[in-house]
Amino acid sequence: MFDDLRDLYQEVILDHGRKPRNFRRLENGTHHARGDNPLCGDKMELWLALNEDGTIADAAFQGRGCAISMASASLMTETVKGKSVADAHKLGEQFRELAMTGTCPHCAAGLEDEMERLAPLSGVHEFPSRVKCATLAWHTLNSALDNQGKEASSE
């Protein structure tokens, strides 16, 4: 009945949705933010631990939400580990473009592998009301990096 939804709910999404990676508190985190999508009641909390040199040593999250938002947060934490803050921001921008349009023609060189990893979420662009589910984690990342402690909202 729902075979044509396999584009949106690829196996990797369902898998990350069911068993999100890095789903824990980070006791020794240096940055933290909450994210909130009031419309659907999605809530998440994100922790980052930055190295002295400004790269992201660790990232973890907890929260509740749909498969898309859990999978997106899970993939996000995996992807940003080891990245510089600048690259993390760049990834976030590119991911938002991907989620909204399905492609990312302006994707800067050097992050191809990371974008490849996030590609399973591109199907969301056909579901306008679901785009926010996919981008919530990245909004929360921004707010953790920019603006310690302030709540992020994908509204």
Binding site: M1, F2, R130
Partner: protein, 418 residues
């Protein structure tokens, strides 16, 4: 499909004939027939309503109350006839007991200002319930924070019914100025015992407001029989247009309350120093009212009255019975709310499927249901469903076949997420 004669004997409720009145039900979405189970959020519009609005704009439109010319007289008569239709619909004593607003939310905000700030004293309390829509919660929080009233929350039972013992406790100290509760939950479908609540409120010296946004769509309401002080509903859920709501307010209260909004048409005389208010209900209707919408709402009321509220109630009861007999067979499905007296609305959740994902799947099958917390965040916490639920809500065009199809789609969704 079902129709013609059903087990309860409403022989003349021909759902197929009714469906033919709603142009949108014939549309397809991504190749699927529309199965619209979100009437509780907003109902679809029958041809009769659409045509009346067209006719008004094409042949009889002008601003009301302000012109002595023929077209304006015609428009004014139509607007006032809509008021009279609303009064009849609620069995209000007089047309003037009806105030037009922009929706239910505005109706409740009006009461929160004109009665809450205007008449209630700081220290008095407002009682709401755990299952209120935010429209009947946030205005009372704002009143509390701005005016110093207390906000008391009446519990619901695990079946989703108002806990009348708790209500009695909350009323006991005589400090309650207003009981403001839903007449039917937009999540659980529970219908509250309005007459009893009104009696309890009045005996404790409180006024009572019923949020009839859902109830008025599903059954006959009689504000005099209930003995309501305030009763509101919203046009777009009653098969009418957006942009219009209705507040019944008892004549003596309308007289006593100060106005809420200032502007044209609500004054008797204005100088820069001092303004005197027009008589109610004009006093509460500032500016150009929703004229086209009032005429459309009148057509919607005529439409549902021609079918008959008792017939609609019976039809929806049959649908709910059918749903409650069918859906529990879907493995992993939880249905919220088990009130004795309930209308055609219920929330549900499927194990392992977040409400949002589930609604995306159902949408792919052509089924429109809402996902989220349906503007009842505290109720969802109370239900242990803070992450949200899906909600199906029926209209007079809903069929049993659609419910069967929903059951099928849910079983299939369960396999999808397994």
């Amino acid at each position: 499909m079902d129709g013609a004669v059903n087990p309860r004997g409403e022989a003349d409720f021909d759902v197929e004939r009714i469906r033919a009145d709603f142009p949108i039900l014939a549309t397809e979405h991504r190749g699927k027939k529309l199965v619209f189970l979100d009437s509780g959020a907003s109902a679809q519009k029958p041809r009769q309503v659409i045509d009346t609005m067209i006719r008004t704009m094409e042949t009889a439109y002008a601003n009301v109350h302000r012109g002595a010319y023929h077209l304006s007289e015609t428009a004014t008569a139509a607007y006032e006839a809509a008021r009279a239709a609303c009064a009849r619909f609620l069995n209000a004593p007089r047309p003037e007991d009806i105030i037009f607003t922009s929706n239910s939310t505005m109706a409740i905000n009006l009461v929160a200002h004109s009665y809450g700030r205007g008449i209630m004293k700081p220290g008095q309390a407002v009682v709401i319930s755990e299952m209120e829509h935010h429209a009947n919660l946030v205005p009372w929080q704002m009143l509390r924070d701005g005016h110093g009233t207390e906000l008391r929350v009446c519990r619901i039972t695990d079946a989703g019914e108002l806990d009348l013992n708790h209500l009695a406790e909350l009323l006991a100290d005589g400090k309650v100025g207003l009981v403001a509760v839903t007449h039917m939950s937009n999540v659980l479908g529970s219908v509250t015992p309005a007459t009893l609540i009104a009696r309890m409120a009045h005996e404790a010296g409180a006024k009572v407001l019923f949020d009839g946004s859902q109830a008025a769509v599903h059954r006959r309401v009689d504000v005099q029989a209930i003995d309501a002080d305030f009763y509101c509903f919203t046009g777009h859920k009653l098969y009418g247009p957006t942009g219009i709501g209705v507040l019944y307010a008892r004549a003596a209260l309308q007289k006593a309350m100060p106005p809420f909004l200032g502007g044209g048409d609500m004054i008797a005389s204005v100088t820069f120093e001092r303004t005197t208010w027009a008589e109610p209900p004009a006093k509460f209707e500032a500016g150009t009212p929703p004229i086209i919408e009032a005429v459309g709402l009148h057509a919607a009321i005529d439409y549902v009255e021609a079918i008959g509220l008792p017939a609609i109630e019976a039809h929806e009861r049959a649908l709910v019975d059918h749903a409650m007999a069918t859906l529990p067979h879907v493995e992993g499905l939880t249905i919220y709310g088990k009130a004795q007296d309930r209308g055609g609305v219920f929330a549900f959740a499927l194990d392992n499927a977040h409400a949002h994902d589930l609604s995306t799947l159902l949408d792919r099958a052509g089924i429109a249901v809402r996902a989220g917390r349906h503007c009842t965040e505290p109720l969802h916490e109370r239900l242990g469903a803070g992450a949200g639920t899906c909600r199906a809500s029926f209209g007079l065009y809903t069929t049993k076949a659609e419910i069967d199809y929903l059951a099928e789609a849910l079983a299939s969704a369960r396999r999808f997420f397994a």
